[in-house]
Amino acid sequence: MFDSALNILSYLSQGLGTTVSLFLAATLLAFIIAFVAGLCRIVKNPLIRGFTMFYVELFRGTSLIVQLFWLYYAIPILFNIHLGSNWWIGVIAIALNYGAYMSEVVRSSILAVDKGQTEAAIALNLSRVQRMRHIILPQALRLMLPEFGNYSIQILKGTALVSLIGLTDILYYGDIYRSTNLSEGPLAYFMVLVMYFIIALPLIWLSKKGEKIAKRGVAG
């Protein structure tokens, strides 16, 4: 039993690189999208605001797996656009999906900073960009941290879908293992859970830390 558990673990670890690299790249890209889209939601220009809102609602309102299939199967045929390898498609689909959710965190955190902060910054004659950069964003960032921690864990779990577009991640190797060792199926999937959980541990720790920073951040 113990032997086969270790055996499975080493088999699954072939997919570790794909899962982790996908997770890191998708998270980074999702953060960037979240900030750009979050800031676009609060600019004056109604065109930019409207377009960003369309993107956010579209990607929040449809499922990630369907978006993944669209990018992988539909768009190349319909528009003859090739987004690159399936690794890139996985990264882009996950980042667009979670970026949409996280942009709402960025937007609401910025709006949650006390209005008096903006007024004081105006009274000191800081420019719009300076106000955002030196006064509002640093405070909003602390409010974002706990939610960002949560979403990074969600992204990690979301990467498990990419086996459906042919990427060889942890779940993919779990499936292969089960199909060749049917009797060990439950154990194989249990070890898949264990692996995801182990990767998530530092993220859980980070979001706890983020919560602490957020709490002491902006009082007074």
């Binding site: 006390d114 008096g116 902060q117 007024e119 004081a120 105006i122 009274a123 000191l124 004659n125 800081l126 420019s127 719009r128 300076q130 030196h134 006064i135 640093p138 405070q139 602390r142 951040g217 902006v218 009082a219 007074g220």
Partner: protein, 261 residues
């Protein structure tokens, strides 16, 4: 003396509420002006318009000869853009009822940020200037504290230092003592008194501190229902006016103070 600020037929509405109903007011370059009146009379709105935190619904505000909210473009009057507002704003500073210090910065950084970003000073110069000003308001030993570590009175003194380092020609004080515990009011008024005595800038105080207004103000305005209902020297307005609304306001105010003690 040419006024540094002129309000000309200023109106301001928030939705259906007509807060200011035609304010005409000249403020002289060294004048210490106090604005009193019941809450909701529009006192705070008057100075918020000057600080560009609100836009007037009608009328003009002239600051040092420049129309604050309007610019000429191709012979036509247009709404002022951010660049224009920023230029005029350079001469104006404001202290708020709720301090509005930047909580993520030390009190020294609170003062340094505008000097470096707006006045384009280098960090060392800025820090020196900020330290001197904090010293002046009695906080020379608190440079590295964060606002959350200070008392309300100390926070308000930092807020004043932060506005003062910018060397404004006009300083606005928006009920700066109303959020303070009674025992902390004195230390803040002390700083304002020092400024009133030693600085040439124009000062506009929206205040509930009637005795203090009487002591330092060259002129007092009584604002009532969006108009200037009475104005004159502090003595004239507070002791000699027979305006019944003002009498009523003062009576209620003094009554509250007495029962409050």
């Amino acid at each position: 003396m040419k006024p540094i600020v002129q309000y000309k037929e200023i109106h301001k509405s928030f939705g259906d509420t007509h807060v200011l109903k035609g304010i005409n007011l000249d403020i002289n370059p060294t004048e210490k002006l106090a604005i009193i009146g019941p809450s909701g009379s529009g006192k705070t709105t008057i100075i918020r318009l000057l600080m560009t935190l609100e836009e007037p619904s009608d009328g003009d505000i002239i600051v040092d000869g420049t129309n604050l909210w309007k610019i000429e473009a191709g012979g036509k009057e247009k709404k002022a853009n951010e660049k224009h507002l920023s230029k005029v704003r350079n001469d104006i500073g404001m202290v708020f009822q709720h301090f509005n210090l930047f909580p993520h910065k030390t009190i020294l950084e609170n003062c340094v940020v505008p000097l470096v970003n707006v006045r384009k000073m280098n960090k060392k110069e800025a820090a020196e200037l900020a330290e001197n000003m904090l010293e002046r308001v009695g906080l020379g030993d608190k440079y590295d504290s964060y606002p959350s570590q200070l008392s309300g009175g100390q926070k308000q003194r930092v807020a004043m230092a932060r506005a003062l380092v910018m060397k404004p020609k006009i300083m606005l004080f928006d009920e700066v003592t109303s959020a303070l515990d009674p025992e902390l009011v004195g230390e803040v008024l002390e700083v304002i008194r020092d400024l009133a005595e030693h600085e040439d800038m124009a000062m506009v105080l929206v205040t509930h501190e009637m005795d203090f207004a009487l002591e330092i103000a060259d002129r007092v305005l009584f604002l009532d229902e969006g108009v200037i209902a009475e104005e004159g020297t502090a003595d004239e307005v507070i002791n000699k006016s027979d305006n019944p609304r003002l009498q009523d306001f003062l009576k209620r105010f003094r009554g509250e103070t007495v029962t409050g003690q």
